[in-house]
Assembly symmetry: C2
């Protein structure tokens, strides 16, 4: 009797403990961070804090574009994370601002598998269960408009998890709130993330909400990154004077530092009310004309400079934004389609 009780307890304990996932620090598997001496899950090196404007530094702590990239044969995947600011916005879902987003690769296609909903600053959640125990490639995208104190990936104890290192150089995106992912529903739908999956490249997201000002200090940091392509989508944050003042000078620095690497310029998309409000339309087109003029001047000397014509992105925002300017999943998917084609053409 006592013996069979022992067996029962042993059986139950194995069964119960087997059900508990084992958690691994996601920092072992990260990509999308260009600088080794950056704070955890952050986008610029710690020393940049003293060099940059305060809002740019603060935004660099948002984990946009940072993702855990790994292989596991797990049958279930859990996550546990704590955000830095518990930030909220009225025109973007919490899942996009401070949630996690899991994708899995099956054959040659990436599939959205689960979303970590951020009910409070610290959250724990199972994202998927009942998987067959085969090794699969995953991307777990970090919050777009918040930072992370910690992130752990939990798998069933029998499973293994391994980092994936890419052999190819990353794509570097410099831009605005839209580049940072405003206002998609979850981190994997930011257009740099979509392009990264479609082109099978690591992406570095240097979108800084409201602050894509071509600050010389930021361009200096971009020059330090060995990239496959540099994509500039910062003009919606720059007025005409700022475009005239900074664009040519700052682009030249990059074009000369990396003469064989393509640099792709994206003009302003048209705000949705711009088709009805001439003031908005004219401001947008004047800026785009200035960007085009700078492009025409520079491309004579720099064959690695490219620009997407405005007419190819004029449809992107139409019904594709939440507020006239910030792309939803619909607009973001359209932007990724156009931009992805241009990046491939630049290679």
């Amino acid at each position: 009797m006592r013996k069979s009780l022992c067996f029962l307890l042993l059986f139950l304990s194995v069964f119960l403990f087997a059900a508990e996932p084992v958690f691994y620090d996601a920092q072992l598997y990260l990509e999308g961070m260009a600088f080794e001496d950056a704070p955890p899950f952050s986008r610029l090196p710690a020393v940049a804090e003293d060099l940059l404007r305060k809002p740019v530094w603060n935004l660099s702590r948002n984990s946009a574009g940072v993702a855990a990239h790994f292989i596991t044969d797990a049958t279930e995947i859990h996550i546990q994370w704590e955000v830095l600011n518990n930030f909220h916005m009225v025109h973007m879902a919490g899942t996009g601002i401070r949630g996690l987003d899991l994708y899995v690769k099956e054959g040659k296609q990436w599939f959205h598998l689960g979303t970590g909903k951020p009910y409070q600053a610290g959250n724990k959640r199972r994202l998927i269960k009942n998987l067959t125990a085969e090794p699969r490639e995953y991307l777990l995208y970090c919050p777009l408009y918040d930072g992370l104190k910690s992130l752990y990936i939990g798998i069933n104890p029998e499973a293994e998890i391994t980092e994936i290192k890419r052999s190819e150089k990353p794509l570097v995106f410099y831009g605005t709130s839209i580049t940072q992912g405003g206002c998609v529903s979850r981190p994997g739908m930011a257009y740099p993330a979509i392009i990264g999956r479609n082109l099978e490249r690591e992406t570095i997201n240097l979108g800084f909400s409201g602050n894509g000002h071509m600050d010389p200090e930021i361009i200096n940091y971009i020059c330090q990154i060995d990239a496959a392509c540099y994509i500039f989508d910062c003009f919606p944050n720059m007025d005409l004077e700022m475009i005239k003042d900074r664009t040519e000078r700052e682009l030249k620095k990059l074009l000369e530092a990396h003469p064989k690497t393509p640099v792709l310029l994206t003009p302003n998309i048209m705000e949705e009310d711009g088709w009805f409000d001439p003031e908005i339309y004219n401001a947008c087109m004047a800026e785009n004309a200035e960007v085009a003029a700078i492009y025409e001047r520079l491309k004579k000397d720099y064959k690695n400079l490219h620009m997407i014509p405005f007419k190819q992105i004029r449809h992107v925002a139409v019904e594709g934004t939440v507020d006239g300017i910030h792309l939803t999943d619909l607009g973001s998917m359209r932007m990724a389609e156009v931009m992805g084609k241009w990046i491939k053409r630049c290679f």
Copy 2:
């Protein structure tokens, strides 16, 4: 001196008062409400409160599908609104839950023109300025997951505003949270709203989050509506037993009450993790098989019954949801494309 001061004051007062918009009660211009004796901006008659399950009644106070439909030659449009619950969800933007959404028709196409961001329970906001003073047709969509205490439309004093009455019967959608608009970025992106614009029809949104249970009382109310087409997308809220128990009986009531009006069934979309978790896949397909069997039995007697085949909507949710099941603007647009084609085919 005193005289010229008088003139100056007169001039300034005319100028200042001219800049102030005149506000009109949006209740003068509403569509999307099938029942005249409903509470303000609500979807079911006041007497239904005693007949319905409490959650269904509460959800009927959400203004999903309610829209002001008007013509104005305004050069600027303002709105002022107060919501009922100031409701928040972590996986849907506040603009979709409790915001307002303005569309304008130009030629034959509808354009998104402006979004009312709900920073608190009561909000006032200019949505568009600098319009040419021509009469245009507008739709101002009300919150999807909150109700309204009040809504006023402000236009420049010289402008006029007139209600638009449609001559054609409305499309009636009965369903779940997805039908209600979960989780699009703003009210105009709920799939019934997109279909309404594409087919130029009034739409009645009877999506009840988590509660699309084919309650007999709700079907009785649907029978009272004289519609161009009834669309059922409620099965994601019904388990297999509930589908077996209620679908045939409740559909028969409607099919016999309106023998010449098309009734269109939509099977379950597949949750995104269903392609990897057999438990979810099998539950979805078993329910869809049951729905298909009921459809096959009923269509022998009721020629006005139609069903969208699952294979035509299997792509809708793929990368098109925020959390595996609730459609984003991307998924909602896809659903509207497929469903819109089927509705046109049914006419």
